[in-house]
């Protein structure tokens, strides 16, 4: 059954300042029922702040957040859920009651979800003794208790074992199908691909692009190995059309430090010409599958090259 998509929430020109510094800058997005949106970006790009804003926990410094109705049922699973001294079962029961669920429905749902995430044997234990993964499961279960119209998940796969990851994705697929809007931040392509999510790429608090998983899938690129160039020449190369990334590597045989350029195939000749014009030598050229666009924007290790 396909539900007709309706607008749930509209965020317009959202800016959030902390001590005068923008953490989010002029972000706009519309969230519709039955859709999934992945927020991707490197560490510190503003994903968690954006989720907290959508949850109504942080106030905007400027811009507007307009829900389609006043009391939207929102659920939120934050990052780094803390371990409380009460048991998981007790905690989940309390959260469900606070959100207004009836006791009978709630008890049923808790049993079901604890079972699905294989937490049943630990349900009576205090959460202070839980591992990171177990706490994350409790965190996710509390967000899945009601029937949220908007489900916000901050790094939902973090710390989860493989069976739990698949359980979560199946549950999210069901929710999406039944009309719940999903917005989540991720560092792994799995969720994005499986939920066929729209992708909102953030960089330093700004929207870099709004696309979908398909467009960010792996495309082959050219890898040019050249001798190291001067700083000025290197900067000029990074500004050329078709540039994807570059990194210093050691030559396989000589051990000499050289530069590996990843460029779009269509612009390979242009790059080769530039390297030679700038006094460099081309050591090798090959075409191979690189990192997919998704992985590239999710990889925290590359944060230093984000603006290169």
């Amino acid at each position: 059954m396909t539900l007709q998509q309706q607008q749930l929430l509209h965020l317009s020109g959202a800016t959030k300042l902390y001590n005068g510094h923008p953490v989010l800058n002029d972000i706009s997005m519309t969230i519709n029922t039955g859709t999934a949106t992945a927020l991707i970006g490197r560490n510190g790009s503003g994903k968690s702040t954006l989720l907290a804003i959508l949850a109504g926990l942080l106030k905007l410094s400027s811009g507007s957040l307009l829900p389609a109705k006043p009391k939207l049922r929102i659920s939120y699973a934050p990052e780094a859920f803390p371990g409380l001294r009460m048991s998981a079962e007790e905690y989940l029961y309390n959260m469900g009651r606070i959100s207004g669920m009836s006791t009978a429905l709630l008890e049923n749902k808790i049993v079901q979800l604890l079972e699905a995430f294989q937490l049943s044997p630990f349900r009576k234990q205090a959460m202070t003794g839980y591992s990171k993964g177990m706490l994350q499961k409790v965190n996710l279960i509390q967000s899945l208790l009601g029937e949220p119209e908007l489900l916000l998940l901050d790094e939902p796969l973090s710390g989860l074992d493989l069976p739990a990851q698949h359980t979560l994705i199946e549950l999210l697929k069901e929710l999406k199908h039944s009309g719940t809007a999903l917005v989540f931040s991720v560092h792994e392509p799995l969720c994005v691909e499986a939920l066929d999510a729209g992708v909102h790429v953030l960089q330093a608090g700004r929207t870099l692009m709004i696309t979908d998983a398909g467009k960010l899938r792996d495309k082959p690129s050219s890898y040019i190995l050249s001798t190291a160039l001067s700083q000025q020449a290197h900067t000029a190369m990074t500004e050329l059309t078709g540039y994807i990334s570059s990194q210093y590597v050691h030559h396989r045989y000589t051990g000499e430090e050289c530069m590996e350029w990843e460029v779009e195939i269509a612009w390979t000749d242009e790059f080769l010409r530039h390297i030679l014009d700038m006094g460099g030598s081309v050591l090798s050229l090959e075409q191979r599958s690189g990192k997919s666009g998704l992985e590239q924007w999710m990889d925290p290790k590359q944060s230093g090259e984000a603006t290169a």
């Binding site: 926990l57 942080l58 939120y76 803390p82 001294r85 009460m86 309390n94 509390q142």
Partner: protein, 236 residues
């Protein structure tokens, strides 16, 4: 609101942070009634001040006991940060109610007074204890970690406010004019009203009670107003 209060009570109890302030109140009251017999209303005035200080401490420990991320989750489930703030105040009011009841009933049950207290005195004492306890809590609302991030500052400020409030009469003499009686938390006038309950008219007693109640309502009201406009981040 009941599920929220039940959760907050459970969470605070499990955290065991209640132990120090509650134990201090209990020990102070027990110590006060070690010697018998005691005058009724003067003793009640003294225990009301103990409750004022103890509840301020309890308020601070309660308001800081929940971790910031957990507080975020609770607020999203509630769909209102104002309800969350109100739930905290009501939970503390419930704890104050229990402590006030015990403090008022204990000397009667143990026969610590020089004369039978009587229903009138007990009712006045209960109202006085409740109001001073809630006054302490209303002050603590503004000193929790999300308002005053440095706990050493918060404790220092709280101690100064408590001392100045209890010694309000002296301060009024030193600084004449309406500023001190209006701005200062009215712990001293309440204590004075309880001590002299037999000499003061009922109208005058009611006036003292209304003054404290008004002060509590203003503090709580502004706190809730600010709560709806605050950020609830992952750090307190």
């Amino acid at each position: 609101m009941r599920p929220l209060i039940a959760y907050m009570l459970k969470s605070y109890t499990f955290s065991q942070r209640y132990f120090a302030p509650v134990a201090s109140i209990v020990i102070s009251v027990l110590f006060l009634y070690t010697y018998k017999p005691n005058p009724v209303m003067s003793s009640y005035a003294a225990t009301a001040v103990i409750l004022f200080i103890g509840c301020a401490w309890m308020g601070l420990s309660f308001l800081n006991h929940e971790q910031a991320v957990q507080r975020q989750v609770t607020i999203v489930h509630l769909r209102s940060s104002v309800k969350y703030g109100l739930g905290g105040i009501l939970t503390l009011a419930l704890l104050t109610l229990v402590l006030a009841l015990l403090t008022v009933v204990y000397p009667v049950v143990t026969g610590s007074f020089v004369e039978p207290a009587g229903l009138y005195h007990m009712t006045l004492a209960f109202a006085g204890h409740m109001l001073l306890g809630m006054l302490g809590i209303s002050i603590a609302l503004y000193l929790q970690t999300s308002w005053v991030p440095k706990s050493s500052y918060a404790i220092g400020i709280l101690l100064i406010i408590l001392i100045v409030s209890v010694g309000g009469k002296k301060l009024e003499e030193l600084i004449p004019g309406p500023v001190v009686p209006v701005l200062l938390p009215p712990a001293a006038p309440m204590m004075n009203a309880l001590m002299n309950a037999d000499e003061l008219s009922f109208r005058s007693l009611l006036g003292s009670f209304a003054h404290v109640l008004m002060y509590i309502m203003l503090l709580c009201g502004f706190y809730l107003y600010r709560s709806s406009r605050m950020d609830y981040g992952k750090n307190l």
